[in-house]
Amino acid sequence: MYKSLIMKNLVILGAGTSGTMMANHLVSKLPKKDWKIHIVDQYKTHYYQPGFLFLPFDIYNENQVRKEGKKFIPKGVEYHQLKIEKIDAENNLVELENGVLSYDILIIATGSKIAPQEVEGMHSKAWRDTIFDFYTYEGALALRNKLREFKEGKLVVHITEMPIKCPVAPLEFAFLADSYFDKKGIRDKVEITYVTPLSGAFTKEYSSKKLGYLLEEKNIKLETDFAIERVDYENKKIVDYIDKEISYDLLVTVPTNMGDEVIEKSGLGDDLNFVPTHEKTLQSLEHENIFVIGDATNVPASKAGSVAHFQSETLTDNILLYINNKPLKEEFDGHSNCFIETGKNKALLIDFNYEQEPVTGTFPIAGIGPLKLLKESVLNHWGKLAFRWVYWNLLLKGIPIPFVSRNMSTAGKNINK
């Protein structure tokens, strides 16, 4: 037992984007004489996950998307590189592979991951032969090697079911694939099809209106309302519940996304192992001394790094309020901010929350920008590339991003459509 008699323990599970940010925020704010902060993660490497989109196209290399996780954990936080076996919420204990950690406050930041085994025939002999994902480091690299050799045929970019981490990533993948094959001079030999279980590539009114042209411009075919039942990997077809079939030579799928299995083992999750969480305070709905952040929650915000960043500011305040027995702030508004690559060195930027759908405008400074919302621009693309530096140097360390507030600002947005 690591428990001490006088000190209280705050335990963070997961040292990904959310967990690392929380460690950095809290280390300077929790009184050191009363609180000991622990962070637990079984993996040594911290990945810059937005970079996985660029690996398959040889835009980024391996070293640009990975660093040693420990380097980002501040002094004064005890780092346990151990597997988490189970959370015993009734007794305020976390069972680790070689011991037990007791907690007074628990922060769950265990993220989400792909579950290709959820669809028959997906995690099959053809996995990483003709069926690929790009949501894992290994998958993105395997796909890079495949694309280097790919000369012609049908590329199908596919979403299994919602919710997924970074919901725009598959669309970005299709756009970047168009640019990639164009640059190689083989675009006319590759057919690109985008397959979604939703009613369109764009499902929000304003986005469809403003961005509907993109698929046509890039000659990307669209299949909507496709709920996959199985992959017929021998005949290279995906099949839906009404026996509709789509053939592929190369299937790039976003498998079902699920929370960590430790959530399931601990009985703390929903059908997809996401933890039921108050959407504005980020407190667990079941246990008042458990808080949840990032992809691990079931809140209806996007599963994205920017969301985790905005949540971390609210959650830090709420942890301090909780410690002082004060009511929590119902503050988090679902704020999300994402660059969307559209290929040919351009990108879009969207800024939205639970209530406000993405609209056009200027960001972050109203009326000035320099970035443009919901509109393609070269500057947005440079913004996306610059974000990798921001991630490693500001975001993970909990340093605020200039001009960007935790709650979404309506200034600079064209809200009257």
């Binding site: 939703l198 009613s199 929000k204 039942e229 209806p300």
Partner: protein, 102 residues
Amino acid sequence: MIKTIKQIAINVNEEGYLTDFSQWTKEIGEEIAKENNIEMTDKHWQVISWIQEQVTVKKPLSIRGIKKSGVIDIKEFYALFPGGPLKVSTKIAGVPKPKSCI
């Protein structure tokens, strides 16, 4: 936008989804179904009630959810609401269709 169904004015978005669930009645649902060439049966209404319950308790709608609903299996769901069952059934139920972030 305002749409008039059976002489009742209701608020809808550009795709015809109700923007205020309090305006929904079974009659309005029935008319929207007709516009989508669907004749409502008891089974249809069971699915619509289930969808409305999910939305009330803020559970996201998905095909996985339908599979576990105990109301209907996925093949039946497609047969009852042809041409994109989630987008058609949500329109009849007077609730927003499942969306992504853009």
